[in-house]
Subunit: 774 residues, 2 copies
């Protein structure tokens, strides 16, 4: 069993939803941050393309607006105080002593932290959540202009970045359905194609206009089979196990039913396709989304758990960015790979259903009973591997999805750095923030580097947009971005903060955590970690995940830009294990009341996260010496090696990799020593040289060719998703992929290539005064 | 007909041969620069591996020692004067006015130019050329240590870089031969397998130990056929034409005979292989290497022309670097692609012969007479396309080449920059220079950037070594190298200097040419150009080639590092057209007397070249604002577009590329305007930012994935060799390759990709203060 380093256990967080109502006829949903792709796509559809058929509920995602407002507002409006860094500002006359700068910085920091109010976050959010979110269709450009105009009002330097990307929509009239027929073609069962509406929810919300559940980018058509198999979570391991139970050929031309969880849904469909399966039915099994099934008052609207007709929407695309312009931006001049036979698009029909509906299907299956860990939560259903349906029944999936090229727009607002304008820190803070920023108008804050607020049209449409942006500007982002702070994962609970990061940001993250109070306590986040860690101070082992995956907007920054990035989330310890998200993820039940009643009643968690993100962004933008510690990367490499060895065949020789990691340690230690003992921070070029080295450590791990010919968009050789699950950030992905294949030669080859990139990172850390052989 | 932008017409230049005699038992050939790969490989063999069988003649290549001595010596020893740049030196107390710096610079420049003496170059060379060059075999490491020790004595910071690379050798006993048999298996003709020795040459030279002619990396074995075809220069066009004359299947399992010239020999063999040919015989046709055949006093030893048994050695490898570790350095940890069935190695037998021998073969051929431009220079031979040999004869090639992995060492000597030590200028100047550097000891010269003298073990062994070095340090070289100055092409004649360069260096090259006197005249090189250009001042159009190919040590710097590079050569106007080199290229007749008697009797040309290279290296290392002009890249793109359109099908749409080029012009003009009007050179960070942008223009054109899956080691999208000739630097190589294939879809796709990289270069040139959509 390959170690999945990061199977997301986030319960979705907040999403950021920026709403604007320029005239009575329509409201613009300008910006949304979600923790997965599909809902964003849906929103965009409704926003720009399908106004006549789609509306958007004020969901849990709206909550994050408050955070956006606050971070943006405070950064823009409030930081009108002297720069707190101890950088020598060569452009000003007045010089401060190191001590003076520290005082200024401390004062500034306190002002910033104090300025973030939980009550205001809640108020702002409630305000936004009351609005309907019907969007215009012909006014995408206009919307971007309005956003840009607002930002300009706040003295941000605004640029707009349009792309024409391939998106996917369900039919507005005809729902996608799953049916069962008897031998005489009589309909025995038919799925509803939508979720239930509850009385407890706000009646003013336009439930009737919400987009129906569908799996974006899956093909349309109708498939029918008398053979139906149950493949558990549809992981590669599940399929391999199934092969031991039945004849592999049996799967050919069959339909399968799988439960959500463990891996990215797109990989489930992709693996099924390779097995010759013609249709995939997905559902959330009760065991994964409710504490105990068949007890309706345990589910929404009475809890955070999924009701029987709840259905997770989602994309089935197994790469990031527009599938027609892989590696390149979707600009008008760019060649598009034809849609027909496009290797990047799913080729089979797939559709999700509610678990109430899944039960109707499961009870009609035949075959051997499954092993215990394949068993789900239905009490009176025998889970079987399947085969021919009982009573000569047949099962059918009908899908009416369409693919369409649509224009999207990114808006980027920049506060230009006054010393190093060509060094960029980017955060997922959003234009809407500038509404609140107006509370404290003026933009006297002149950070050392440039700070960019990225309103991903990209993100509105899912990961497609941010990746197109990164592709378009790959060259300059690759040489200039210091860090990207992703706001995709923010709050899913109130108990503990978890962080995903480049190992370089390990110590930095701990520093930030010492400066922010945890929600609903009097202790700092750091103190909270220590307490939950039995007093053990190495909190990173418990609360940090090293490396980031490709399942959010950081994808392009991790894999293409190769900057050192950071993401964070507050969540609870009691989570349901396999689903990989919170139970109501991508359902229509992500409402404001869900958050207010069940998740973060006093909004203190949002307040804490806002403080963490703001402080991190501010510090990275203005600090003179970048707070990256390469020694932490050494520890991460050691851990990965241990893990990788544990799953590798005995015959594999890891010596060269081990030596390279040891050498990396020396290089990192010596680098840090040199910086501590010889760096003259008052020499701007010396400082720049050291910072350039720090910026290039992560980049040294990037394979420009991509990790393989098949995975050429994934380039980070230390952390990248595996071939069979885009949700995880697997360590040494090419080696572990080769281990999965039990290809001894390829394992050794990949070990040597990873060794090479570690050597490359060593060369980056060595004194640049000469080129030293390792 | 595809426009070959650069079919090399160099007559081989000088090669640099560094010789050391640490004890009476052996002499070390430490460093050689040749203008192609094979002879270097041979030398290395003799140097480090095969001492018992190979010695090295003092050839024409030795001449360049003088240049090495002078550039190295003067740079190291003589520049003990104040830095002449107008950079604000933040590390010193004293500041000079702009005017003072200009005066210092002018004085320095004059000192440097005056210090280069033609007589000393000649003396030094003669001294070296008198030594035999037998080399040790077990002392490669020791040799590198001795070199390094010398360099250290001259206060260079020295690093050594070993690689274990696949090399190729002929058998020391059994020569490779071509034979003709009659139907009874009687031997009718057999080639000699070696070149003739002349009385005129120095009798103390060990002619009997020179390596025999062979084609490195071609497979060993014996092939025999009754079918023999003549395929002119063996270009792709030649083969395509031959297909119109005879049945393509006729070529299957045949042997072919081709003449040297027009394209790289490795491509001839590679194309033949694809046609199912089992053996290739190469020869230099008299029409290409002597003014008129059968007149022996017109050839060497009486002239620069090839005698009847002269044979060009050479490598048949169609990629750069060790073929077993493509993309990666040949370090001990690195996985090696197995030799068997290695796609990067030639799979067929091939051997060269003298033209006296070729005549014996040609007269026994049958078939239709060839068209006029396929006809060679033999007076009483009917050139035919071939078919079955006359009289049921059969032809056989026997080759005894072997492949062996051998250790090589690069030595790099660095003068560390005192302001920007992490910015590198590299030149092909060599350790041996430091012998002469002793004349003017001391190394007080502290340039702004780091200057590195690269003693390519890589180069000694051919392009393999320098590419391995670049592969190993790709990450740091990619971010730090300003320029690589290649010393592979130096002198082939005395009349005119020609330069190959990144278009960014166009104006810089003209500036340098104005400051150096042309050989054997009183005018400057620039004035000489104007005079030969009928007074026309745009001398670049005549004397500059934009872009560099992959057929020299700049290959790795052009394609992998993507720095902006420069190479130069002095040659004569009267050259023989098709051979692409000087007639005695890679023969054993490249002797000192050849140069002294026929090429550069007073060594003034070497003096001029030494001045050009030294001045260029010095200026690039020390000048504050890099002298790169992006507007010159615009003109180069315009020229390439015109050329490409002229060969493309009418239906191809070049609009997006045209627009991108127009936009590039605006970006370049605006960049230059911003620099002129707003750059504060006294602000070190502002200066660094602008220089970073200039360094990244060339890098923006680099496709990290490579130009195609098959050509993944070639990454420059504006200039790279075509698939069928590694000698040229073709413009828009991916587009022209697609045009050759007449694949309309792929042409459009490649146009869009090139457009993308031009867009990328535009983003690099834009103000870094924000990210601007184009």
């Amino acid at each position: 069993m390959i170690p999945y380093r990061f199977i997301s256990t986030r319960i979705d967080p907040l999403r950021l939803l920026i709403v604007n109502k320029p005239n009575p006829k329509f409201t613009i949903i300008s910006y949304i941050i979600l923790d997965d792709r599909l809902p964003i796509i849906i929103l965009i559809i409704c926003n720009t393309c399908l106004l006549y058929r789609l509306r958007r509920l004020p969901t849990i995602t709206c909550l994050a607006i408050a955070i956006v407002l606050f971070i943006g507002g405070i950064l823009i409006g409030r930081f009108a105080i002297p720069r707190p860094s101890n950088t020598i500002d060569i452009s000003t006359e007045t010089k401060h002593s190191e001590e003076e700068y520290i005082n200024i910085w401390n004062n500034f920091k306190q002002q910033f932290l104090d300025s973030i109010s939980a009550q205001e976050i809640e108020n702002n959010l409630r305000d936004y959540a009351q609005k309907t979110h019907l969007a215009g269709t012909d006014d995408d450009r206009l919307e971007a202009e309005i956003i840009a105009s607002k930002w300009r009002g706040h003295e941000l330097d605004v640029t707009i970045h349009p792309y024409d990307v391939l998106l996917s929509y369900p039919d507005p009239i005809q729902p996608n359905i799953v049916s069962i027929f008897d031998p005489n073609n009589n309909l025995i069962f038919q799925s509803n194609g939508s979720e239930s509406i509850f009385n407890e929810d706000d009646k003013t919300l336009p439930f009737h206009k919400i987009v129906r559940p569908f799996l974006a980018y899956t093909t349309n058509g109708t498939v029918r089979s008398q053979k139906l198999f149950y493949v558990n979570y549809c992981t590669m391991d599940d399929f391999r196990f199934l092969e031991t139970v039945l004849n592999k050929d049996d799967l050919n031309n069959s339909i399968i039913i799988c439960r959500y969880g463990k891996i990215f849904r797109g990989n489930k469909i992709n693996i099924a396709e390779k097995y010759g399966i013609i249709g995939v039915i997905l559902y959330s099994d009760p065991i994964d989304v409710v504490p105990s099934s068949n007890i309706s008052n345990l589910t929404y609207p009475n809890s955070i758990y999924m009701p029987e007709m709840g259905q997770q929407r989602g994309s089935a695309l197994t790469l990031s960015g527009d599938p027609l312009t892989v590696h390149y931006p979707s600009k008008d001049y760019m060649f598009r790979t034809p849609i027909d036979n496009n290797p990047n698009l799913p080729k089979i029909v797939a559709q999700q259903i509610g678990y109430k509906e899944a039960r109707e299907i499961l009870i009609r299956m035949t075959g051997i009973s499954v092993i215990s860990n394949w068993t789900g939560g239905f009490h009176q259903v025998r889970y079987v591997y399947g085969g021919f349906l009982s009573d000569n029944l047949s099962i059918q999936i009908s899908s009416y999805n369409t693919l369409q090229i649509r224009r999207i727009h990114n808006v980027i607002g920049t506060i230009t750095g006054h010393i190093e304008p060509d060094r960029y820190v980017l955060i997922g803070a959003h234009f809407d923030a500038w509404n609140f920023g107006a509370l404290d108008n003026g933009s006297d804050w002149k950070p050392r580097r440039s700070l960019m607020f990225c309103a991903w049209a990209a993100e509105e449409y899912g990961i497609v947009g941010s990746v197109e942006f990164v592709e378009e500007y790959a060259k300059i982002l690759g040489s200039r971005v210091v860090s990207y702070l992703n706001m995709d994962v923010i709050v899913e609970g109130t108990e503990l903060m978890f962080m995903e990061m480049s190992p370089l940001l390990y110590d930095f993250s701990i520093e930030i955590s010492k400066q922010v109070k945890a929600p609903y306590t009097t202790e700092t986040i750091y103190e909270q970690w220590i307490r939950h860690n039995n007093g053990e101070k190495d909190v990173g082992k418990t609360f940090f995940t090293m490396g980031l995956s490709a399942n959010s907007d950081y994808a392009g920054f991790n894999q293409i830009v190769a900057s050192s990035n950071l993401a964070m989330i507050y969540k609870n310890q009691t989570i349901i294990k396999n689903i990989g998200t919170y139970p109501l993820y991508h359902t229509q039940y992500e409402t404001f009341r869900l958050v207010k009643e069940f998740i973060d009643p006093e909004f203190q968690t949002h307040q804490a996260i806002a403080r963490v993100i703001g402080l991190a962004a501010f510090t990275l933008t203005d600090i003179d010496l970048l707070p990256f510690n390469p020694e932490r990367y050494h520890q991460a490499l050691v851990d990965l090696l241990t893990l990788t060895k544990s799953v590798a065949p005995q015959s594999i020789n890891f010596t060269s990799l081990q030596i390279a990691i040891d050498q990396f340690k020396n290089a990192a230690t010596q680098f840090n020593y040199r910086v501590q003992t010889t760096l003259d921070k008052s020499n701007p070029i010396q400082l720049r040289i050291v910072n350039d080295q720090l910026m290039q450590v992560e980049r040294a791990f990037q394979n420009p060719l991509g990790n393989s010919i098949e995975q050429s968009t994934l380039k980070h050789t230390i952390y990248a998703p595996s071939r069979t699950n885009r949700y995880n950030a697997r360590g040494f992905p090419t080696i572990t992929d080769a281990i999965e294949d039990r290809n001894i030669t390829n394992i050794q080859q990949q070990i040597s290539i990873v060794t090479y990139f570690i050597h490359s990172a060593i060369t980056v850390l060595q004194s640049p005064n000469k080129i030293q052989s390792i």
